[in-house]
Symmetry: D3
Subunit: 168 residues, 6 copies
Amino acid sequence: MEPMTHEPSKTPSASAVVSRHLLMPQHANPRGTAFGGTIMAWMDTVAGMAAERHCGRDVVTVGIDSLAFKQPIRIGDQVVLKASVNYVSRTSMEVGVQVTRENPHTGEKCVATTAHLTFVALDEEGCPVPAPSLTPETADEKRRYAHALQRVRQRKERLKAETQAHND
Amino acid sequence: MEPMTHEPSKTPSASAVVSRHLLMPQHANPRGTAFGGTIMAWMDTVAGMAAERHCGRDVVTVGIDSLAFKQPIRIGDQVVLKASVNYVSRTSMEVGVQVTRENPHTGEKCVATTAHLTFVALDEEGCPVPAPSLTPETADEKRRYAHALQRVRQRKERLKAETQAHND
Amino acid sequence: MEPMTHEPSKTPSASAVVSRHLLMPQHANPRGTAFGGTIMAWMDTVAGMAAERHCGRDVVTVGIDSLAFKQPIRIGDQVVLKASVNYVSRTSMEVGVQVTRENPHTGEKCVATTAHLTFVALDEEGCPVPAPSLTPETADEKRRYAHALQRVRQRKERLKAETQAHND
Amino acid sequence: MEPMTHEPSKTPSASAVVSRHLLMPQHANPRGTAFGGTIMAWMDTVAGMAAERHCGRDVVTVGIDSLAFKQPIRIGDQVVLKASVNYVSRTSMEVGVQVTRENPHTGEKCVATTAHLTFVALDEEGCPVPAPSLTPETADEKRRYAHALQRVRQRKERLKAETQAHND
Amino acid sequence: MEPMTHEPSKTPSASAVVSRHLLMPQHANPRGTAFGGTIMAWMDTVAGMAAERHCGRDVVTVGIDSLAFKQPIRIGDQVVLKASVNYVSRTSMEVGVQVTRENPHTGEKCVATTAHLTFVALDEEGCPVPAPSLTPETADEKRRYAHALQRVRQRKERLKAETQAHND
Amino acid sequence: MEPMTHEPSKTPSASAVVSRHLLMPQHANPRGTAFGGTIMAWMDTVAGMAAERHCGRDVVTVGIDSLAFKQPIRIGDQVVLKASVNYVSRTSMEVGVQVTRENPHTGEKCVATTAHLTFVALDEEGCPVPAPSLTPETADEKRRYAHALQRVRQRKERLKAETQAHND
């Protein structure tokens, strides 16, 4: 059996990242609001950068859980993406991403999109490899850790139920 | 209260779409496999085209449910995306997308990624508007309809539980 | 002399491909209609994918014959590209591409562009190599094969005439 | 009947354009040579700029005649595109494009691709409108004018033959 | 004479921004290091976002002063861009940008590029309009303000000398 | 000490390049004028091509001096970029770039942007290597050489002054 990594545990804030983009005409549909696909691609990149910083290795996206587009983002808006690792279970890391739109003229800000993405750490041959464990420190980090743990369990149960249904 | 649409019901196959892309170097990481963000953007576009064909209106992505990257896609692979409307509830349409990678040299094919995306139909002012209802015909369409209905219910329960937790 | 390939003959439908794109603002000029160059690039990709599926090898575009833009494509239109191998002569494959624009709101469809592209199959060193022969089956496939054969002959005659003119 | 334009005739050199691109990794396939689609898009843009300069109006691509990829272009090559109007017949302008690849390390140059593209001049409503007539001056310009005139006639004959064949 | 703005003065930290990008193959030359043009475009965007946040208006880049590429950035590096307004003189704002490359595997970080960009605030008609004044607070902000003031004076002297030389 | 190159001296015109782009919607902000970052990226590419032609080697951008955006460029404008080597000092080459915007409908032309970029020639290992010396021939080339020499000296003095200031 593949051994657990012996690298020291890390905090979520040690690998958290923030990025800011300007929504330009080529990111938007003819109504002037962002394409879902553009925002998803930005979220995947920023979440992947947080996961890479946590494990110090190449990573690969394995899934997205409940991405919700809550508010439209318009051409000219500044788009702030924050990503931090919520939970780690051996080779896989759940990263939470929050996307805030900011109107630079009015100063108005609101959360536009949120999602949880899961990444796997890879070794030099591209095979899954254990990631350092995660030590949440602040109350916020602990809450996110607990919620992620719940999601991981629910996902497993859903998968089991779906497999069961297939076999019936 | 906003009335139900009086447009005739449609079948999933009436709006189903297929697209095919070539995975080029600019879609891949240095290990030669597709970026998650690129595939997500393609999935969003193809799913949105199916939703638009179903309702005959502009649509906007409101969420993604359980996107899973099952197999890597490599530079040179042909990528086949199939999207069809699974379920409609008034203004929102759930679209299933299946991504198959195909090696054009060996002929090898396998399902690489799947996801369910939800879209809302918009009127000329960009406000949500009822979409035509969906009439699944084949056994496969009926199974997908039933599963989507289950997912919609589970999503509502999860949302209720999360709101409850927030209020506690 | 390089031998003919011994791979079994294939039908046009075995390698035919279809793709669908959404015409976005970045694909269009300020009048809101598609750039010729964007559509050409999409046609080259889809035709190359059909050629690659026919020969199971890398291919390279060697020419385009009589590409005609018949109808403009507008922002928001869905663009359906169909490509199939019309004719094969040893190392070169003629692929026909038909581009249909589809307005997802009105359901209106019309052929916007057509072209014939020629590809050559390449071996691992990038040298031309024989492609499997083509066996047209349906009446439509047989008509396209006959027309392509005529074009190939006319191209050779034109080349001969041009060379003759140069030498005069 | 729409009158001929009264704008003064122009020479080919008055509107001729030249452009130079660097072939970067994102323009190439995994073998390191240019995608046909990338080169086609660059050719369309440069030819359109020459046509626009000739007529002083918006233009639209209506067709391409016998594009030939003669030599591969490699990553790192400089790509020189030259376009000039060969022939004008009322609303349509035939533009010749020659693509030269240049290796900046060895200084080696060779013609990689050639094509003839046809554009139509548009008025403010997007309707075809007469373009200024063309007055070839140099021997080279006169030869290109004569060859283009021949191509225009052959195209008309081919179209007539194809229509005839359809009606038989 | 156009009046000074009556908007309250702002600190540099109120409008400072940070962004993070992943250097992907399409941003790099065949040696695997970032194209200067890609980094410049990212610097312009991030600096423009800081300027826009400072003045609450559209802005336009009017110049760049002494951009220096100090260290190469490689494919796979994370690229952190920090921008803050250094100095404001009526309608123009000087923004300093620092680009740090970060190797996510080794954790190694170093300053790769720095530059000073100047932006002008625009009103609704696109005409220059006064920007809020700048109040540097920290020692670092005061030092940057003083250096920027020096650069602005040297630029004016150089311009005067160049004009003088032209008139001689 | 690394020896001077023994390659023969070259004139500025031997490596000068010109390129022409069409300003499309995706290159512009919502007001319809070019993004600074787009123009910078084009300037870097064209200047790098001139430097590469001068030294016959790979080059890397090391800095930009006093880039000035003088006139806005609008969607639909043709953008002409001219680059030529102004000055060479062992491994580094200063390249001047002039960007002219041209309205193809009115024929109006004006200089929109100018800048001086510095490149270093690289050997196969990516290390700086001497470039051929430069022999200005025309009066214009000699004037540009003299001005560049002045800028190089001023840059050195400024660097010295800045270092001095740091040490005080």
